[in-house]
């Protein structure tokens, strides 16, 4: 007797993707599919667990940005406690978040994307990696490693561990900052700033060589979303989620996190385990929007720190007020890293940050809580429902990569149409399609690069369904 097992799409992903490219009768790209093929199941298996375990459990979703999940989860738990966390705790959470932004952006730019940018998309794939980068551009490789180390060490100094620290808890953090740790982190800030200055200069120098990529890397105008302060500054820890249309006009705001579901809908795709969030007023699949560094700089009026604002002015002078090409995620990422380092300095120099009152305690005062934060890859939403005893009844997690799913799908098609032709896949074309996905720095690329083998499986399919080529 046969039976059918249906797995509903309640998953988080960070792993492998398959891209299908379908050709028409003339051998041209007809359409493409972007499949995310891993099942995680976090939303389901947390049911029944105490809500105060959620930060630690959900941090395991990611090894690159566990701090984002820790913080989004802690914020959702703060809402369940219905407390306002102590000011020092808020500053400390933002501080560790900034450190994470620096390390994550450094990883994305230097370790994952710089081989494409500095060695070229068509260079020898055997050397188009961080090892090749060390050979040809040792100074950039050194800067990348040093910048990531700065961020990781700051996380370890604050929270005791570089990955999956347990410092952030519902109600605040569980240990105050001492002055010697503050001074240690402060002493390393000038080095981080000089690395970013050099890197921005280098990026501005090399970007002219990528005209084709700029035009075809997901350059279709979309909406953008990101956190901003009430004054319109870039915000990464806390703020209002602002949506702008392709021309830059504000179209929606989420001021109270619990209201997110009125603006963001979630569609499940039959060919992917990654949900596709969409802008509800426009419906699915028209409500495409992007999140992450590019979107955040489009949404914010300014960064709010001097050096990042200077860089933002250069960026806007070169590219305009609303930047649509996903190729410029890289530039935006570097500006954000500059902002993060400057913000770290501001936070460490705030005398309130040494206050020892860093945790608010309470029981379950609300049966529902939502935490929204900007992860390095974009808006991250944790939504929990608990019973009166604090047992998890239901969870919904919208990870940053999810918001970009529709845009990545659109971008894959655009890049394929530009670079894929005929019945065989050229290596450079394969790499450009992969690089489009990489520009978004999706969570699925984290595990990818850690294992060293290509997680992308590209298949070229003829109109009758025959597999013509695969890489």
């Amino acid at each position: 007797m046969s039976q059918t097992i249906t797995i509903h799409h309640v998953t988080r992903i960070e792993g492998h993707a398959t891209i299908d490219i379908h050709l028409d009768g003339a051998g041209k790209v007809d359409h493409t599919d972007f499949h995310v093929t891993q099942f995680r199941g976090f939303e389901k298996f947390v049911e029944g667990r105490p809500y105060f375990e959620m930060p630690a459990i959900t941090a395991r979703i990611c090894g690159i940005c566990p701090v984002s999940h820790l913080l989004a989860s802690s914020k959702a738990c703060d809402a369940i406690l219905a407390v306002r966390i102590p000011p020092a705790a808020k500053l400390l959470r933002e501080l560790i978040h900034m450190a994470q932004f620096v390390q994550s952006h450094a990883l994305s730019f230097f370790h994952l994307s710089a081989p494409d940018l500095l060695l070229g998309f068509d260079s020898d794939p055997a050397l188009r990696n961080v090892v090749g980068l060390i050979e040809k551009h040792p100074e950039a490789a050194r800067d990348g490693i040093a910048l990531r180390k700065f961020g990781q060490q700051a996380i370890a100094r604050l929270a005791g561990e570089r990955i999956h620290p347990s410092w952030t808890v519902p109600g605040g953090v569980n240990k105050p900052l001492d002055s010697s740790t503050r001074d240690e982190i402060l002493s390393e800030i000038p080095i981080a700033r000089s690395i970013l200055r050099r890197t921005l200069k280098m990026f501005k120098h090399v970007r002219d060589g990528f005209k084709d990529e700029v035009e075809s890397f997901g350059a279709t105008p979309t909406m953008h979303a990101g956190l901003v302060s009430p004054a319109g500054h870039l915000r990464l820890y806390d703020g209002i989620v602002k949506f702008i249309d392709a021309e830059g006009k504000a179209v929606a705001h989420i001021e109270d996190p619990i209201e997110y579901s009125g603006v963001i809908g979630e569609a499940s795709m039959s060919d992917s385990y990654l949900k596709s969030p969409y802008f509800k007023p426009l419906g699915f699949p028209s409500g495409v929007y992007r999140v992450g560094p590019l979107a955040r700089l489009n949404v914010a009026d300014s960064c709010g720190t001097p050096e990042a604002d200077d860089e933002l002015a250069d960026y806007r002078e070169a590219l305009g007020r609303v930047v649509q090409s996903s190729f410029y995620y890289h530039w935006a990422r570097l500006i954000e890293a500059t902002y993060a380092v400057e913000r770290m300095e501001q936070l460490l120099n705030d005398p309130r940050i040494l206050d020892t009152h860093v945790r608010a305690t309470a029981g379950v005062n609300s049966n529902e809580g939502v935490g929204i934060i900007e992860a390095p890859r974009g808006v991250l939403i944790h939504h929990y429902k608990v019973d009166d005893n604090g047992a998890m009844l239901w969870a919904n997690l919208i990870v940053a990569t999810g918001h970009n799913n529709l845009a990545i799908r659109e971008g894959v098609k655009q890049v394929a149409q530009r670079f894929v032709d005929g019945n065989a896949l050229k290596e450079g074309a394969v790499n450009r399609v992969s690089a489009l996905v990489r520009a978004f720095d999706p969570c699925l690329s984290c595990s990818t690069h850690a294992y060293g083998s290509s997680p992308y499986r590209l298949r070229l399919i003829s109109p009758d369904g025959t597999l013509l080529d695969q890489k």
């Binding site: 029944g48 667990r49 105490p50 105060f52 375990e53 930060p55 630690a56 459990i57 395991r60 999956h164 347990s166 808890v169 519902p170 569980n174 305690t361 029981g363 019973d387 005893n389 604090g390 047992a391």
Partner: protein, 236 residues
């Protein structure tokens, strides 16, 4: 019969008092034997079997926590065979429930975790059972997570012998055994729990914990429970 006797532990001649257990004498003589269910001041029950030792002249192994010393006894507390059995016991405990250290409230302060590390248990040879146990969060101050319980019964004994409340019991049989609260009530419905927390402090793992504590935050303090028990014993 003399109250002072001599026994050999791992070949070394040591003095002991009649009525002491092998576990106690070994500990006094700086030869600690791993154990999970024994706790100073509580009646030994030999539940975990981790303290199995070899006694010369006997073909089977005996639990050190429940075996009284006898004059002239020669005990082996550590050799390859005993280490193998102890590793097996830890592996079976880990496979039986859902022990996920990374997200456990007692991570870094857990006796099961410490014992596993000391015995060099890196993984288990047995298939995990992944039982579907609920977490009892009904008590206002404490949590009970059966997924992390090793059925050592330290909580049962602390509650009965020290606090005198008799809230806890082990229900069921064999693999179906489960810590139960007062004829299978939820902890929050308990009619006798004094919320003293002795069971929580006695628990060697994260099974019993204080509510609201996040991962790694629960450190246990069983010593005061042992001190109260010792104080009670010397009273008439």
């Amino acid at each position: 019969m003399p109250s002072k006797i001599s026994i050999r532990i791992d070949g070394e001649l040591v003095h002991a008092r009649l009525g002491q257990t092998i576990l106690e004498v070994a500990a006094e003589n700086n030869k600690p034997i791993p154990s999970l269910c024994s706790m100073k001041g509580l009646r030994p029950v030999g539940a975990c079997r981790l303290c199995l030792v070899q006694v010369e002249g006997l073909g089977r192994m005996l639990p050190a926590c429940t075996t009284p010393v006898q004059d002239g006894m020669s005990v082996t507390t550590d050799n390859a065979k005993l280490r193998g059995y102890r590793q097996m016991i830890i592996e079976l405990l880990l496979a039986e429930r859902n022990h996920v250290c990374a997200v456990c409230v007692a991570n870094g302060h857990c006796e099961l975790q410490t014992a596993a590390a000391k015995l060099g248990v890196m993984n288990t040879r047995y298939a995990y059972r992944y039982p579907n146990h609920k977490v009892d969060l009904s008590h206002s101050r404490f949590t009970l997570d059966h997924n992390r319980c090793i059925l050592c019964s330290r909580c049962v004994r602390a509650c009965a012998e020290v606090e005198g409340a008799h809230v806890w019991e082990i229900g069921g049989r064999g693999i179906g055994s489960l810590l139960v609260c007062e004829l299978n009530r939820t902890w929050g419905e308990s009619k006798h729990c004094t919320a003293c927390g002795k069971c929580v402090q006695s628990c060697p793992t994260g099974a019993l914990a204080e509510k609201g504590f996040a991962v790694e935050e629960m450190t246990k303090k069983p010593e005061p429970v042992s001190r109260i028990a010792a104080f009670r014993e010397v009273r008439p």
